[in-house]
Structures are given as C-alpha cells and as structure tokens.
Symmetry: C2
Subunit: 355 residues, 2 copies
C-alpha cells in the first residue's frame, strides 16, 4: 500500500477516501466531519465521493477545506435497504463503490463510509479481496471500558451474521493484532463472548472455538481468558472480545442506546428543581469530561479486518463528530502499517493449523 | 394456583417461595432483600429454602422478619458451574429444588431464586411443566426505556440459547400478554430483534419468525412493528422485544455493564476538581432520581414465561436491592392472575396455527 501524495500541497498528506453519501444524516454531516478532521490534522487530505454538484457547495462553505479535497463524481447512492447483491451487480456508479475503488487503485490508503454495512462489506470483499486464510472479514469496534487504555476491541460488530469456530479463531488473531498496533498492548487478553463464563455454557460452536482460540494463544501472542459475558465488553477482564456479527451488533447497539438513554435522563434529572438546575450549571465541566470519555460517536468508527486494504465503517447515524472520529481512526491505521502485520500473523496461524 | 394463607398471621398473605442460596453474593443479601420487601409490603410472607441453621440467625437479626418466614431445610446449594442435568439427577436436597417444589405443591404461588439460570430453568420445566403449546419457556425481563411506562419487556433473556421461528412467535404472544398484565398496555407493540430494520437482514429463522409474528398480531392482540435493533431495547418504538436467549442475554449484560461504567465514570468526573465536588453535593437529589429510574438492580427480576407456575429469576449478582425488586415482581405477578391469561392466549394461538 502506497501513501499517496496530495497534489494540491507540497507536504506529504495521507489521503482518505470518503463516501459522502449513504449515511442516515446526509452529506452535510460528512463534510462537517472531514472539515473538523482537516482542521485538527494538517497531514490529512480527502477524496470525496458523491454527486459533485451537491458536494462542492457544502465543501466551499467550510473554511480552508476546498484545497484538501479532490472530488470524485459518483451520481448514485447505496441506500440502507439495498441488498448487497444488488449493489455488487448495479452499484458501479455509487459513491460507496467509488470510495472503495480509490483504495483498490492505490489513490488512497483507506476508505471511510457511513453507509449500508452489508453492501460495504460485500464491495470491500469483492473489490479488495480477503487476506489469505480469512473466510469472514470482521468489523472491529472500540468500546469504552474499565481497562487502562479506556477501550476494548470487539469483533465482529456486524459484518456477517454468522461465524463458525475457525472464523472466531481468526477474529481472535486479527483483533489481538489490532489491539497490539492500535492500543499498544503487548499481549492483549482475548475473551470469547458467551452467556456465562462456565465452560459448559453456550452453543456447540462456542465450545469448539474455545479450544481453538486457547490452543493458538502462544503463536498469536495473546492471552486467552476464556468465556466472557456481555458485562465484560465495557469491563476489564479482557482487551479483545470475540463474537459473531449478529450478537456483536445487537450488543453494541444495546449499549449505545442505554448510554444515550442515561444521558437524556440525567439531563431531565438536573432540570427537575431550581437547586438541581444550579447544580447542573456547576457540573458542566464534569459532564464534558465524562462525555468526551464515553460519547459513542467518538468510538463509532469500526474497521474491517481481514482485507487487503483498509475500510473504516462509520455508524449509519454518525453526525459530524462521528465522521471525524472514523476519519481519525482511518488515519491512525494507515500510519501504523498494521494491515501488513495482520496479514503475516494470519498467514502464520493458517500454516500452523494445517494438519 | 391457590393463594396460600400464612399460618403465623390473621391477614391473608401472599407467600413467596425464596431460594436463599445459589447467588453470587450469599444468603445474607437474600435475607436483607426479603426483609426490605417485608417492611414495604405487609401482605407478603416467605418460605425460605436453605440450610436452616445458617439462615435462622440471619433472619433473627432483622426486625420483625422472623414471624413472616417459614424455614424449609435444604442442606445443599446449586452452584453456578453445576450442569442442569446434574441438578436434575442429584439436586433433590438443594434449596433451589425445594423452592420450586413449594410452588408445585401449592404452598406458595411463586418462587424466587438468584441461582444458576440453566438449572433453575431445567428444574422449573421438569417440576412445573410447560404450558400446552410451549416448546421453550422464556425469561422475560424489564429494561429501562423511553416508553411512557418507563420499561420494555425483553424475552428471552437467557433461559435457552436457542429459539426457532415458532418459539419466537410464542415469545411474542407471552411477552405481549405479560406487557398487557404487568405494564397495563392494551395493545403492546412487539418488535423482533435483528441487526437492522430492513426485511432482508439477519438469519433465515428471523425471516420466518417475521412472517409468523406478523400473521398472529390480530388474534394475539399486539401490534407487530417488524424488526428492531439493539438500540430499541431502551427505545420507544416497541414495548416487547423478542429474541433468542443467547442474543438477549448478551444484550442486557452489555447494557447493564455500560450503565454501571457510566455511573462510575460520572462519579470520577465529579471528584475531579473542588468545583465539581461542590456541584456533586448539590446534585445528590438529581442523581438519586436518576438512579431510581435506571438502577439495573431494580429491574433485574426476570420471570420465566410458559410454565404452569411462576418462577422469578433474580440476577446472580443481585444484592439486597436486587432481591427485593425480584420479590416485588413476584408478588405483582401472583396478584394479577396473568399466568392463566397467558395459558389461554397460547392455547388460542396453538389452535389457530393448526393447519
């Protein structure tokens, strides 16, 4: 993968390929998000994919953004209800296709999209190909936790609703590699998500995965802590939580929804009496500290692991803050060279698993 | 089911059969919980199951509790790691078995246990039998939500890791009946948990369940809102969330863990500066209001639906507040006569589903 040079500027910039369309909140939020990232990080530039006639005025309205953006016209949008197979067949003119194509062609090192997860996954897998030894690439997300690093990695958060025992082993390998490179953990602790920590709990596939993941901990340089429960996703017993994409998707959305509910109820509680309204004024800085720590939009950027290119999936309902968080993650991953590290780690594991 | 009369008192009291053992926190928390319930509710009495020699001193230490409790000696305890099959074979002397037996024998109308979910389910199913037409009884829990009633019903929260399309239909019927009788909702809105709200998402079994649940909404008097996501569990698009016990269990534990993390981080944020410490003192009543609204211990009491008797499962890590919440729920269910209503509703649905 080549770090592309942005032609509008003398300095070397990392170019992020951004799908401007397909999110629930529209391209204005995406443009606001990349504007925020551009302001924060002078080393970042963008290829922005979508209907240029609509995008240009949005970009022009942001200060100093126009010279950081190359427009790539793509008239169509992948909708949330579109089937991945439809998109694969008829989606060449969509902004999502275009965004991934830019990574395939080496014009950018990473792509970011807020769109339809299934379509993004399908396009990524077809256009970028899977890493040798990977059957199901996975979406890995960061989740606020009690760990020293403040986050846990969880995968699969929804790339594929299924996963067999071997897929779950690969998730453990890829997730721990991500934790090593993204969170600087030398020997990440890996947990396998189940309905209880006892060995006799759960589906048969989980019992097989338990044995597989345990047997590879030495080669893949993680510590296997065994089964973990939903409460351990924001907990401190492990750094990487492995599960199938159905369970993972429901779990994080439940966690997000609960966090949002608490935030709103807290606001209500503080508006209840004159005294509590006074307290809320004095509490503003405390709440800001907390919000910065747990705001789901700041950690919503997931990354597809297991592909020969980097694709960051932002939450469909991501606003500007969410898009900016996803762009930041994309930038970090492009810089760390971890994609190559995962490839070699999976190749080692694959060769070891041969009879 | 007969409302038993407590012999130690002139007034008619609803007797709750309580398993004092098997929770993570020990019998002292259970006794503290029933003491709290006894103080709050003069119409409640208990049969307390466990090693009497250990339990009596705990009860004696609580004011006015001794004359509300009948002890039923059961020397053994079902441990969290015990397999349900072991318990079924060798568990006759356990407090859990004894607690369920009291319901079977009509000595109490409901049983409450903090113990091993799988064992409690297995014992309940074998000793109390399933309702006609029910293959998998389900654990239904209440979850804080944005709905006017403040809670959603979610099932299955972990009674069984599997569920086929017909099971999910029965969950919809039982859950809506519970919402009608427990939350006073005339026509509960039912949602089927998936990774997206689009009809083409998710497993094949969910697509079949979608059709089944939709086709029964008239007969079973609920409104089917279609697929919902994890974020809708604390949301306001439906009142009853239907899912298999694996997904449901992971989802609520993730939600609980996230809520607990936020609570702790909020405390930290308020200890950060002298000003924030002052704010926290002024905020005490606001936090109490919020805590009362969302404290997971207050809503942890789930209920097994689909049995010819009522069994309330309290969280394994429930403290006194949690036990008391479970006892309160048990009392309400015993009074509402909803078990009979579910039985007739399921029977109707079963007869309608015959070809």
């Amino acid at each position: 993968m080549v770090i592309s040079r942005h032609t509008h500027d003398d300095t070397t910039r990392t170019v992020i390929s951004v799908d401007a369309m397909g999110g629930d909140v529209g391209p204005a939020a995406v443009v606001a998000g990349i504007a925020h990232s551009a302001k924060k990080n002078p080393k970042i530039a963008f290829i922005l994919h979508g209907p240029v006639a609509s995008l240009k005025p949005l970009v022009a309205r942001k200060k100093n953004l126009m010279d950081r953006v190359i427009f790539q016209n793509a008239p169509d949008t992948v909708r949330m209800q579109d089937k991945p197979t439809q998109v694969l067949r008829h989606g060449k003119s969509t902004s999502m296709w275009s965004a991934i194509e830019a990574v395939r062609d080496g014009k950018a090192t990473v792509a970011v999209s807020c769109g339809n997860t299934g379509a993004l996954m399908a396009l990524s897998m077809i256009r970028l190909r899977k890493l040798e030894g990977i059957n199901r690439p996975a979406l890995a997300i960061l989740w606020p936790s009690r760990n020293p690093q403040g986050f846990n990695v969880m995968l699969d958060a929804g790339a594929d609703v299924r996963a067999d025992a071997k897929d779950l082993l690969k998730f453990a390998i890829m997730g721990s590699s991500y934790a090593r490179n993204g969170l600087n953990l030398r020997c990440p602790r890996v947990g396998l998500l189940n309905v209880g920590i006892e060995q006799n709990k759960g589906h048969a596939v989980l019992k097989s995965a338990y044995d597989l993941i345990g047997s590879f901990s030495g080669e893949a340089k993680y510590e296997f802590v065994g089964f973990v429960e939903g409460g351990d996703i924001p907990g401190n017993v492990c750094d990487v939580i492995v599960t199938d994409g159905f369970t993972g998707n429901v779990a994080i959305k439940t966690g997000e929804g609960t966090a949002n509910l608490i935030g709103d109820l807290l606001g209500e509680a503080f508006r209840y009496t004159p005294l509590s309204r006074l307290a809320s004024i004095l509490s503003v800085s405390s709440f800001r500290r907390l919000q910065k720590r747990i705001d789901p939009r700041r950690v919503n950027g997931g990354v597809f692991l297991g592909l020969t290119g980097t694709v960051v999936k932002s939450h469909g309902s991501a606003d500007a803050t969410g898009v900016s968080a996803a762009v930041k993650l994309a930038f970090q991953l492009a810089q760390s060279g971890f994609a190559q590290k995962i490839a070699s780690r999976v190749a080692t594991a694959a060769s070891l698993s041969q009879p």
